[in-house]
C-alpha cells in the first residue's frame, strides 16, 4: 500500500482538491463551486475524488486544508495541516515551477503578489481593504456590459484600441466605464480597457515597489482571462505563465505540506456520508456579543470558535 496525501482548498467561490503520492504526482483532482456551503462542497468533492483513486494501491494518510473555510473543513476532516492560502500557493507553485521568481494571484476577493528567490518566498503583499481589480469587480462590470465574464478574455483580444479606464477605485472605474460607453467606445475596446485597468491597478497596489522578475506565474480565477494575461505581459515585458491546473495550486501546496510534516492521521472517504452541521449562537457574556460557531458531527459537538474570551468558551468533548 502506498501513502497518499489529500489537500483541500475551500475558497469563497470554488472548492478544489487534489490527492498526491510521495512524488507530488497528482492521483486525483476535483474542482467545483462552493455555493456558500463549504461542508456540502467538500462532501461532493470527496465523492468525486474517491471515484478517481485506485484504492487497492493508495491509502490517504493525512489531510491538509487551506482557503477561507480551512478551519471549518480542517475540523471536519481532522486535518494534519491547516494553512493560509498564501503559503499554500507559494509551496504549490514552487513545486511545479522551481525557477519561478514572481507569482501574481488574483482571486474573487483578494489579490496578492509573492516574490520567490531560489525556491524560497522572500516577500509578498496582499491587497488591504479594497477589492478593486479583483474577480468580483470584473464580474460586476461584465454584468453591466451584458457579457459573460468567461467571454471577457477572447473579446478583449479582438480590441485594437483599448479604452483607457480609470482604475484607481472600483467606483470611479464604473462611472468612467459608463461614460466611455455613452460617448461611443466599442464594447471590445472597453473590455480590453478593463483588463488593462485590472493590471495597472494590481501593479500600482500590491505590486508597488516590488521587483518583478521572470519567470512569472499567474494564478487565481482571473488568470483564466486571456485579456488580463496579455495585459500583464505588455506591462511587465515578460512572458506570463498560466498553468492549466493553476486552480489546483493551493490544494497541491497544502497536500505537499502534509507530506513534509510527516504526521499521519487515519482518513476515510466515509466522511462524505456523515452529517455535519454548524450552529451559531450569540454569547451574552459581555458587550462584545461574540458570535460563537459550534460544529457538530451528528449530535456531537466537535469544535467551537469565535469567542474573544473565556466567557464564551464552549466545552468540547
Amino acid at each position: 500500500m502506498n501513502k497518499a496525501y489529500l489537500g483541500i482548498d475551500i475558497g469563497s467561490i470554488s472548492t478544489k482538491g487534489v490527492i498526491i503520492d510521495r512524488n507530488n504526482k497528482i492521483l486525483a483532482s476535483g474542482y467545483l463551486w462552493t455555493e456558500g456551503n463549504p461542508v456540502q462542497a467538500v462532501k461532493r468533492l470527496l465523492v468525486s475524488l474517491k471515484d478517481q483513486l485506485d484504492h487497492s494501491q493508495y491509502q490517504i494518510v493525512g489531510v491538509g486544508t487551506t482557503g477561507s473555510a480551512r478551519k471549518l473543513i480542517g475540523v471536519i476532516t481532522d486535518a494534519v495541516e491547516v494553512k493560509n492560502e498564501i503559503t499554500a500557493h507559494a509551496i504549490g507553485t514552487t513545486s511545479q515551477y522551481p525557477q519561478v521568481r514572481t507569482i501574481f494571484e488574483i482571486g474573487g476577493q483578494d489579490s496578492k503578489i509573492i516574490l520567490v528567490e531560489n525556491g524560497i518566498v522572500v516577500d509578498y503583499a496582499m491587497n488591504t481593504l479594497c477589492a478593486a481589480g479583483t474577480g468580483s469587480f470584473l464580474s460586476s462590470q461584465a454584468a453591466r456590459l451584458g457579457v459573460a465574464v468567461e467571454d471577457f478574455g477572447p473579446i478583449a483580444l479582438t480590441s485594437k484600441h483599448p479604452t483607457p479606464i480609470a482604475a484607481r477605485c472600483t467606483v470611479f472605474a464604473e462611472s468612467d466605464l459608463v461614460h466611455k460607453a455613452q460617448i461611443g467606445h466599442s464594447k471590445e475596446d472597453i473590455i480590453a480597457g478593463l483588463c488593462n485597468a485590472v493590471v495597472t491597478n494590481y501593479l500600482n497596489n500590491v505590486g508597488k515597489g516590488k521587483r518583478i522578475a521572470a519567470p512569472i506565474v499567474f494564478q487565481g480565477g482571473v488568470s483564466k482571462n486571456v485579456g488580463v494575461k496579455k495585459a500583464f505581459e505588455a506591462a511587465t515585458g515578460h512572458q506570463v505563465i498560466v498553468d492549466a491546473n493553476g486552480h489546483l495550486t493551493g490544494a497541491l501546496g497544502v497536500a505537499i505540506m502534509v507530506k513534509r510534516k510527516g504526521v499521519e492521521r487515519p482518513f476515510s472517504f466515509e466522511l462524505a456520508q456523515e452529517d455535519f452541521t454548524t450552529r451559531g449562537r450569540e454569547c451574552s457574556g459581555c458587550a462584545n456579543n461574540c458570535e460563537v460557531i459550534c460544529v457538530y458531527r451528528g449530535n456531537k459537538l466537535i469544535d467551537a470558535w469565535g469567542n474573544k474570551c473565556e466567557k464564551g468558551a464552549v466545552k468540547v468533548g
Binding site: 493560509n84 509578498y124 474573544k308
Partner: protein, 308 residues
C-alpha cells in the same frame, strides 16, 4: 467632583501622568472600561463616517462615561514645540467632543498644551489644576509627582522592552500608535495571536523616545508628526535586530498613510507587513495575513540558518 477619563487615544501614553496628578490633588476619577463592540458601535454612531477608527473608539469611550462622572477629561494637545506637531485630531479633540455631545449636557475639563502659542506642559497642568479648583502650589506638587510616576513607568516599560529584544526565536517589530496597539478590541488581538504563534512582539512605541527621535532622521527629514517620527526612529534602531516589521494602522489614518509609505519605500532589507484595521467583524483576514507573514519569515530563517 468626579472626573471621567476615556480609555482611548493618549490615555495609553499619559495614564500614569494623568492618574497621579488627579490622585495627588484628591480628585476622584473613573476610567472607562476596556473597548468592546458596544463602545465601538456607539462611537461609530457619534462620529462622522470619515473619522478614523481610533477616534470613533474615543467617542465611544466618552459615551460610555455619560452618567458615570461629573465631567470628562479631554485635553487639547496641539504640539510639543516648533516642528513637533501632532495629528490634527489631538488639537481638535476638545471641540469635537464638546460639539458631538452638546445635547447631553456634558461637562468637559482638560488642559491645553500648545507650546508654540502658549506655555509648555507645566503651565498647562497648573492651569488644569486651577480649573479643578486647586491652588498653584498644590498643582505644582501634583505635577512634579506625576512626572516622577511617568518616568518610573517609562523606565519599567523600557526594561521589559529590552528584555523582549533579547528573547530567542522570531521577533517582530510592531509599529503603531499606543492607542491602537494596547486597545483590547483593536491591537491586542494581534499581539495575542502573535503569542499563540510563538512570536515575540517588540513594540516600537516602547523604545527610548529621545533616541528614537534622533534616529528618525535616517529615514525621514520632513515627517511632521512627532509620534510617527518616534516610530520611524524605532524602526531605524531595530530593523537589524528583528525578523520583520508589522505596520499596524487604523483606517483611515492620515499620518500613518504617509509614514507607512515612506517606510515601505525606504526599508528594503526587512520584510514588512502593512496591516490596516477597520473594525471589521471577524479576524480571519488579519490572521491570514499574520500567519502567512510569519511563515515567510520562518522560510527565510530556514534558508539563512538551516533552522526550523
Amino acid at each position: 467632583m468626579k472626573i471621567g477619563i476615556p480609555r482611548a487615544f493618549l490615555y495609553y501614553r499619559y495614564s500614569s501622568l494623568w492618574e497621579t496628578f488627579l490622585e495627588t490633588l484628591n480628585v476622584d476619577y473613573v476610567v472607562s472600561r476596556e473597548t468592546d463592540k458596544a463602545i465601538l458601535k456607539q462611537g461609530t454612531i457619534r462620529a462622522i463616517d470619515e473619522a478614523c477608527l481610533s477616534s470613533k473608539v474615543y467617542l465611544g469611550h466618552v459615551d460610555a462615561l455619560l452618567g458615570k462622572c461629573d465631567a470628562v477629561m479631554v485635553p487639547r494637545i496641539a504640539n510639543f514645540g516648533k516642528g513637533n506637531i501632532l495629528c490634527t485630531k489631538f488639537s481638535a479633540l476638545y471641540d469635537i467632543v464638546d460639539n458631538t455631545f452638546r445635547d447631553n449636557g456634558l461637562q468637559l475639563v482638560g488642559y491645553n498644551m500648545d507650546p508654540i502659542k502658549s506655555g509648555g506642559e507645566l503651565a498647562a497642568f497648573l492651569d488644569f489644576g486651577k480649573k479643578l479648583g486647586k491652588k498653584k502650589p498644590e498643582s505644582f506638587y501634583a505635577y512634579t509627582l506625576a512626572k516622577q510616576a511617568e518616568r518610573i513607568d517609562r523606565q519599567e516599560t523600557l526594561r521589559q522592552h529590552e528584555e523582549s529584544l533579547r528573547k530567542p526565536g522570531i521577533k517582530l517589530l510592531i509599529v503603531g500608535h499606543c492607542y491602537n496597539i494596547h486597545d483590547k478590541y483593536i491591537g491586542r488581538p494581534v499581539l495575542d495571536y502573535l503569542a499563540t504563534q510563538g512570536v515575540t512582539p517588540v513594540l516600537a512605541d516602547d523604545a527610548d523616545r529621545r533616541k528614537a527621535l534622533e534616529s528618525a532622521a535616517a529615514l525621514t527629514e520632513t515627517m511632521p508628526w512627532i509620534f510617527n517620527r518616534e516610530q520611524m526612529g524605532a524602526i531605524e534602531m531595530y530593523r537589524d535586530k528583528v525578523d520583520g516589521i508589522v505596520l499596524l494602522s487604523t483606517f483611515p489614518c492620515g499620518p500613518d498613510s504617509l509614514a507607512n509609505e515612506t517606510v515601505i519605500r525606504r526599508v528594503k532589507d526587512t520584510p514588512i507587513l502593512n496591516l490596516l484595521l477597520d473594525g471589521q467583524e471577524g479576524n480571519a483576514g488579519v490572521e491570514t495575513r499574520l500567519e502567512s507573514f510569519i511563515d515567510i519569515i520562518r522560510f527565510r530563517r530556514e534558508a539563512a540558518y538551516g533552522e526550523a
